[in-house]
Amino acid sequence: MDIDRRGFLKFSTAAVGGMLLGRGSQRPGADSRAMATVYDFFKCIGCRSCQVACKRWHKLPAEPGEPKGLYDQPLGLSATTWTVIELKKKEDGWFFTNRHCMHCTQASCEAVCPTGAISHQGEIVAIDQKWCIGCGYCVAACPFDVAHTDSPVEEKGTSRKCTFCLDRQAMGLIPACVEACPVEALVFGEREGLVAAAKQSVEFLRANGYPKANLYGEKELGGLYRMSILPFEPSVCGYPDLPRFAVANVLGQWLSGIVTAGVIALLPFWLLFRRREGMKKELSQGGEG
């Protein structure tokens, strides 16, 4: 492979930065040629085929429970439910959303993972279940509440979430949820093409009764690889309006703690305990202690 001087400098800076800041934590932006998905609420009929296909392919157990008045079951994501369709109610109607790992370019889970068990495999944010210690930091750091450590099955206690069907993709298959969708509410393809098509859909929706329709994930956190066409503002649909990279201001946080320690060192310690002149004389006369 030929590499020029600028390329070498870029590569080495990225490599050193990666070592210092955590492998792959600071990624420049989403790869437009990488594979991604888009979920379209307007096409979704809420059949939950995606949920069932995910459970079947990954051999995830069922989660019995009460539906609590809605037809949602399971009610949310867990270590054994990696994709879920949620029925959202509004005063003037209802709509569906699809919850799963968003496979962020700037993945908070990957950045905070203390052991490096979470890493980007291309566009996919993957967890090495054999290396994960189950500390739960990714659970606290994820802006979408995706990772969970409550698995009662294999690799008990480790963090688990949607794998974007890494194994299927390696075999040339599309993700199980996408394959199962009967109405093409979930589509899979190159990110660039998907974004272009999704923007057209958003324009159509905005002109036809959904003025707040938007494509969620195009720019958020450097670009998500699993995007959604939403009918309303993200917060109305259960997504954060401004998802935050958990370690975005970690240096400031360290400084906040260190500066506070410095202030306390001066006030009260320096004021109360510093050696005074009279004491210095006493010490010089051999009165130490």
Binding site: G116, G134, T149
Partner: protein, 314 residues
Amino acid sequence: MVWKWEVAVYLWLAGLGGGAYFAAFLADRLSGGKYQEWVRFSTYLGIPAALLGSLLLVIDLGQELRAWHLFTGFKLLSPMSMGSWILLLWSITGIAMIALWFSEAFPLEEEGFFAGLASLLRPLVPLVNILGWVAFVLAVLLIAYTGVLLSATNQALWGGVLFLPALFVASAISTGLAALLITTSTRIGPFLRSLFGEVGQIATAEAVTKLGKADGVVMAIELAALGGYFVWLGTSPNPDATLAARLLISGSLSPFFWAGVILTGLLVPLALEFMALRDERTATPLTAVLSAICALFGGLILRVVVVFGGQMIL
């Protein structure tokens, strides 16, 4: 809820250990070596506290036997990775200091395994001075880390809140001072002196009063940091941050917050300290110990409400 009482107690213990060493080392160095025994007390108490806390943290892991994976690499961006290393290095430094103090105090004429070990370590005793500074830097990082760990997340009560590390640092030093006050004002101090060998003079009542005054000022700083913390949450563009603040102020955690953190942990010790100052007298041991117990309890409840409250609003 992924982080439970073990994490809250761990954050309290690590803060207490690091805070006690921070306070004792500064008092000793600023005064020209007058409080060497405080440095030793804080190490004797702080290292076991931090190790006990680490044990709780390991118990809390989903895969306890894989805890060693934490030490297979550095990740500067991950506060948990950095914190694990800081805790490990701080514990090793503290244990090395205790070993060197032990070798210094061990009677030369004795024989046996410990005498042999002591004679082997004795030439290294001058290193204690350098190790003391290393432990001080690590103690600052340790107490800061307990707050950074929570703020580098996306939970409404913790995520990105710059005042959280400040609050936890002030609280850690306050609880550390409280532990020192209890040690110096009760029989724990003389017991530790008899156990590990004596050094310097026993702290005078005046010195203990200074500790109490220092704790009073630190608690006032903690109160200010707490105020800043709530202002930050209240003015955050994230609506969940306001909900999270309400959870502590008027929600299900409010009894613990008001009675445990504010009243018992801050106002009662501050009032006791203020009364002692007003009367222009040195604090009685009973007042000092009572105030310190309240501060320790308040520090624990602060960790509990922040750790649990942070996971109650998603």
